[in-house]
Amino acid sequence: MIDTLAFLGEFGDAVDFIFNTRETREGREVGGSQFAELTWTHVQLSVAALALAAAVAVPLGLVLGHTGRFGFLAISVSNVGRAVPSLALIAFFIAYLSVGFANVMVALAVLAIPPILTNTYVGVRQVDPDTVDAARGMGMTGGEIVRRVELPLALPLIFGGVKTSMVNVIATATIAPLAGVVTLGDPIINVSTYGDAGRLGAAIAVAALAVFTEVSLGALQRAVTPRGLKLSARRNRFPISLTRRARATS
């Protein structure tokens, strides 16, 4: 272990594990560059799952929000989604559809769809009806209104959903090794190979990855927020909540 990290005790050993390759008793090389590989798989899996989820949820949310139909569905998908434990979901996929990258990706996408769908729907619904009317008055078709008015104005909320899902997916991808995809969760699940330092190192790496994602997607979310919305958001610090009672604006 690097001496400068010694004062951190177990945590120092874990950090050392992340950056320096070491050999297990069976002669397998773990840590260091192998850790980078695990991280790369972890990121690939998470991004693939999120892309799939977004490809399904965003268009669906836009259409449902634009037509204003099946709103109950869009909202309750999210409530039901939250009630399904991620481990149970992964376990269902393993037991009923078997293991592998594609299956885990789909399982994670299923987990990621509800927040994106609900946020997209709510984002479109909360666009000021007057704005939509004005767009219609200017001769825009339904498709144009969706693309050029509702989508940009809903973008911050859609991004909020994407952020929630991405962090959630990164967290859940930790248990992917159960399904044969070797992510950062491997040192956590196979302690006998990696030892305590590997497990703690992986926990640190997963936590850092999640926080990094949250922060960078948060910055991206601010970047895509239309300027007008930013100004009005300053008065309203909290993200809108689904339960807020509608108050008549005078």
Partner: protein
């Protein structure tokens, strides 16, 4: 050791179904008893974590509601706690709190703080100013106003936060067995290729989330009789 959760013995009539890792109603009927203890461990973890989480978040919210400058730092700190994946949190805590329920509960509490805090503040902020003015005009002190007017009116939003926190905690508690705290997750993990086992243990976890959610909803209805009265008139 986690990797050595023992594969439980399978016995019963439908031998071929069991050998296939299939969904075997007969086996499930015979073996339901092995899910009882993990189920109640799960209930314990969830309820204790949510109760503690609610107490802390509620106190923080009341404090920050009066001292507004506290809101951004509390939101940020609880936000970071919320972002750290629960599984990682369990292992980050292990060197400090050791294996067992304490570790799991600390992590689960940390996870529920943001949700409850944000909803309590949002609920209080949504109380119309006119209503508060009316209360003050009737001679209520700040404290009376809070407990008799603002909190009751904020109750739907507070309860909504509690419901989200509870269902989320049920889900996260399925990973608590990694911290040595038992629960339904341990049962799922014990034989993750066996359809019957996954269906019962996973199903029980989902069911628990719905039941607890429903119970809070009922409590909310009982606590806000005026909401129903308004709806029916």
């Amino acid at each position: 050791m986690i990797a050595q959760v023992q594969i439980q013995e399978r016995s019963g009539e439908d031998a071929s179904c069991i050998a296939d890792n299939g969904f075997c109603p007969g086996w499930i009927g015979d073996n339901l008893d092995r899910y009882v203890d993990p189920f109640f461990e799960h209930v314990y973890l969830t309820v204790v974590s949510v109760v503690i989480g609610f107490a802390i978040a509620f106190a923080l919210a009341l404090l920050s509601y009066r001292r507004r400058w506290l809101i951004p730092p509390v939101t940020q700190i609880t936000g970071i706690l919320y972002t750290v994946p629960s599984l990682a949190a369990f292992f980050l805590l292990l060197p400090l709190t050791g294996r067992g329920k304490t570790t799991a509960i600390v992590a689960l509490v940390a996870y529920s703080l943001l949700i409850i805090f944000r909803n309590v503040i949002a609920g209080l902020d949504n109380v119309p100013d006119d209503t508060k003015d009316a209360g003050r005009g009737m001679g209520l002190t700040d404290r009376q106003l809070l407990w008799r007017v603002e909190l009751p009116l904020a109750l739907p939003e507070i309860m909504a936060g509690l419901r989200i926190a509870t269902t989320t905690t049920v889900g996260l508690a399925t990973l608590a067995f990694f911290a040595g705290a038992g629960g339904l997750g341990g049962q799922i993990f014990a034989d993750i290729n066996f359809k019957s086992n996954v269906a019962v243990a996973g199903g029980a976890a989902v069911l628990l989330a719905f039941v607890l959610d429903g119970l809070i909803l009922l409590a909310q209805r009982a606590a806000t009789p005026w909401a129903r009265a308004r709806a029916t008139t």
